[in-house]
């Protein structure tokens, strides 16, 4: 069987796995974005326990491997009575992990805005929240797009780790096909091509989005 015959036979199977990978990544990213915004706001807060918590959170999450975090959620939590499905475990671990990175991206983006902007907003009588919402965020979000897209791409690739907790996503499909056909090279190259196609699509559309935002002023 040459590579094209291999592809013709198994492309559908790999596509199913890729679909699961997309679901995992999107769910993880949504959780990561929501929690990441919360953690970054805590980090910028005037209330020190919030700040303290946010720093602890990003320190732990970014300082430990995702695989370890995944195992704690999937294998560790049942020990304290919390048995989650592989899918739930996967998106929770991916979400909690990316939240740490997203929080740092947002914090850096907000802090990159000239402090004079906050002074000008507050001088008009705006409260802190109003100034953030009306003046700081609208300037920060354009700067956030490129690093958030990087995070999206990294998350998609990292989602391959959840193959270890018996989620049948793209990587797991690669392993399964490999062991049933005894063609590891073809199997993993096909998986790689699917990953490459998905990350390329993300990068392509984010480039479009970036230019569109620029054109709008």
């Amino acid at each position: 069987m040459n590579f094209f015959q291999f592809l013709a036979t198994y492309a559908g199977t790999f596509a199913q796995g890729a679909l699961v990978t997309v679901e995992l990544t999107l769910c993880g990213l949504i959780i990561g974005l929501i929690l990441g915004v919360l953690v970054s706001l805590m980090n910028l807060s005037h209330i020190w326990p919030f700040r303290w918590f946010a720093r602890l959170y990003t320190w732990v999450v970014r300082g430990t491997p995702l695989l370890v975090q995944l195992f704690i959620v999937y294998y560790g939590l049942p020990q304290v009575g919390l048995q989650l499905t592989p899918f739930l475990s996967a998106i929770i671990a991916l979400g909690l992990n990316s939240a740490g990175y997203v929080a740092e991206i947002i914090r850096a983006g907000i802090q990159s805005i000239d402090p004079g902007q906050m002074e000008a907003a507050e001088s008009l009588g705006m409260r802190y929240g109003q100034a953030m919402r009306r003046i700081i965020f609208p300037q920060a979000y354009r700067r956030l797009l490129p690093p958030i897209v990087n995070e999206f791409v990294a998350l998609l690739k990292d989602s391959s780790l959840v193959s270890t907790i018996s989620m049948t996503e793209l990587m797991r499909i690669g392993q399964t096909v490999s062991s049933s056909t005894f063609l590891p090279m073809q199997s993993y190259i096909t998986a790689a091509l699917f990953y490459l196609a998905m990350t390329s699509i993300i990068v392509f559309f984010s480039g479009k989005l970036e230019r569109w935002l620029e054109v709008r002023g």
Binding site: G116, Q117, A120, E122, L124, G125, M126, R127, R134, P138
Partner: protein, 252 residues
């Protein structure tokens, strides 16, 4: 001391240090309603810091700041309320770059005063007209010259109908040929009776527009008085030396 209704800004024994560095050292200052007060003095004399203390952008290490008879609040919400009455103009303009000139001027009334959009827009057009920039209403700040940006910034501050304008070296960041248009706007505000506290390096302008001039050096008030007296007959040697230096800036 009985409170004097006519005093809008009052500072008493205002001191400010950053670590070991003493920037303000026991300043007493009053600004009355309708008065234009110019603060002059060498760089690093604490002029801008003093101005910024009046709207809470800096907090004095000791001493008191009162606006319209009320001490400046440490509570953020109350401070925001008090700031509505204080128009601030910055050396570097700080226009909101994601908003057009018109939107910059509308932002305060819309967000803080919850003014009706139509009304806010009418007022913003009127204020842009006043600073001579009605035709630039839809331009983003990046498309405006420094002088135009500063005029929009003045209109933005005026939109809140402040009781006092605080101007922090409003022409120092401008190319020389753009200084005039900004000074003209400030001059017209003065002639309308707007109360102003102005930090400036433009001596001729300070003399022309101010009712009173304060000379600051080393965090203290060195001398103050009517412009003619201070510029023509400076009493302290420090003032005399400063005025001589600025009169002959080109001397090598």
């Amino acid at each position: 001391m009985p409170s004097d209704e006519s005093i809008i800004l009052r500072g008493r024994a205002v001191s400010k240090s950053f670590g070991q560095l003493v920037v303000l050292d026991g300043i007493d200052i009053d600004v009355r309603r309708g008065e234009v007060v110019a603060i002059i003095g060498p760089s690093g004399s604490g002029k801008s810091t003093l101005l910024r203390c009046f709207n809470g952008l800096e907090t004095p290490t000791s001493g008191s700041i009162e606006v319209a008879g009320e001490p400046l609040s440490r509570n953020r919400r109350q401070l925001a309320k008090q700031r509505e009455h204080l128009g601030m103009v910055f050396q570097r303009f700080h226009l909101f770059p994601h908003l057009t000139a018109l939107q910059n001027v509308m932002e305060g009334p819309l967000t803080v005063k919850k003014m009706d959009r139509r009304q806010a827009m009418d007022r913003a057009y009127m204020l842009l007209e006043k600073v001579g920039l009605r035709d630039k209403a839809d331009a983003y700040p990046s498309k405006l010259s420094g002088g135009q940006q500063q005029r929009v910034a003045i209109a933005r501050a005026l939109a809140m109908e402040p009781a006092v304008m605080l101007l922090d070296e409003p022409t120092s960041a401008l190319d020389p040929e753009l200084v005039g248009e900004v000074l003209q706007v400030i001059q017209s505000l003065a002639s309308e009776g707007m109360t102003m506290l102005l930090v400036t390096h433009e001596m001729a302008f300070a003399r022309h527009v101010a009712d009173r001039v304060i000379f600051m050096a080393d965090g203290k008030i060195g001398e103050e008085g009517p412009p003619d007296a201070l510029f023509d007959r400076p009493q302290s040697p420090r003032t005399r030396q400063f005025l001589q230096n600025v009169a002959r800036p080109a001397q090598m």
